[in-house]
């Protein structure tokens, strides 16, 4: 078990409130992203609450075979599935339209596959500089909300929560090739949004 996990676990087992606060602060948004992927927006909070209770009840049985984070996210995924018995009928690869489109075939020459319209050079070269524009932040939020629930979850679990592709497959019970497709489409849409903003200064 990682040293951090061991130390935190001991304090959790002792029922230390501050330790629970650290746990919630560190992992609740990742748990929410997992729940969102499986049950959708409407039931996220219930599932996360269920998961926390289950975590507390089973804390004594945590053996450190995975990281605390992976264990929490697995419990969350199970809570989501148990509660709704949702056998995902098929993975929805639906590609919903996004506010600024994507990087699609129109950007390339049909004859030789070269860029017809090369990527526009962004004015900023750090995330901090890009995010100082509050309008871009809003614009990005807007694009994220336009993605399908599954596409958005996969993107957030990968980029914000730093999960490996295999972890995402296991948690959401979808194939690696589906995760790759979902991730790529989501990224291109977000890319198109930043590009649009950098080019026009507008959302």
């Amino acid at each position: 078990m990682a040293a951090d996990d061991t130390e935190l676990l001991a304090r959790l087992l002792a029922g230390e409130q501050k330790a629970f606060k650290e746990l919630v602060t560190a992992y609740q948004s990742a748990m929410r992203a997992v729940a969102y992927a499986i049950v959708g927006q409407r039931h996220v909070e219930e599932v996360v609450q269920d998961a926390w209770l289950s975590v507390v009840r089973h804390l004594g049985g945590f053996e450190g075979r995975s990281s605390l984070k992976t264990w929490l996210l697995t419990i969350t995924a199970n809570s989501a599935r148990n509660r709704y018995k949702l056998n995902r009928r098929e993975v929805l690869l639906d590609d919903l339209p996004s506010p600024h489109g994507t990087i699609d075939d129109d950007r390339f020459s049909a004859s030789d596959g070269h860029w017809l319209i090369a990527p526009f050079a962004w004015h900023q070269d750090t995330p901090e500089a890009l995010l100082t524009e509050s309008e871009l932040r809003n614009c990005l939020e807007h694009t994220l909300l336009s993605l399908s629930e599954l596409q958005r979850s996969v993107l957030l679990l990968r980029e914000r929560q730093g999960l490996e592709l295999e972890e995402i497959c296991n948690l959401l019970q979808i194939s690696l090739s589906n995760v790759r497709v979902l991730l790529h489409r989501a990224r291109l849409k977000v890319f198109a949004t930043v590009e649009h903003f950098e080019e026009t200064g507008e959302c």
Binding site: Q17, V24, T25, Q28, F108, W115, D125, L131
Partner: protein, 78 residues
């Protein structure tokens, strides 16, 4: 040699280390000769870092939740 379109289609797999050795070399080879695709990849990485750096919605009621969980734990521990 890959076309730009083919390079873009492989860009996420390249960033995630999902390409075979041979395909990775093909992407690198293309990037070596194509400034537009180099810019695209640089900006894809910047987009990833930007998503990571976006401020999260502040969690509400963390203290109340932590208190409830700690109580639950103390009441349930043998």
């Amino acid at each position: 040699m890959l076309t730009c379109k083919e390079q873009v289609a492989r860009s996420s797999d390249y960033l995630d280390g999902q390409l075979s050795f041979r395909e990775t070399l093909m992407v690198r080879h293309h990037l070596l000769f194509c400034p537009s695709c180099r810019r695209f990849m640089r900006q894809m990485r910047l987009m990833q870092a930007t998503l990571k750096a976006m401020p999260e919605q502040p969690e509400e009621n963390i203290d109340a939740l932590a208190e409830r969980l700690a109580d639950e734990r103390r009441n349930n521990s043998p």
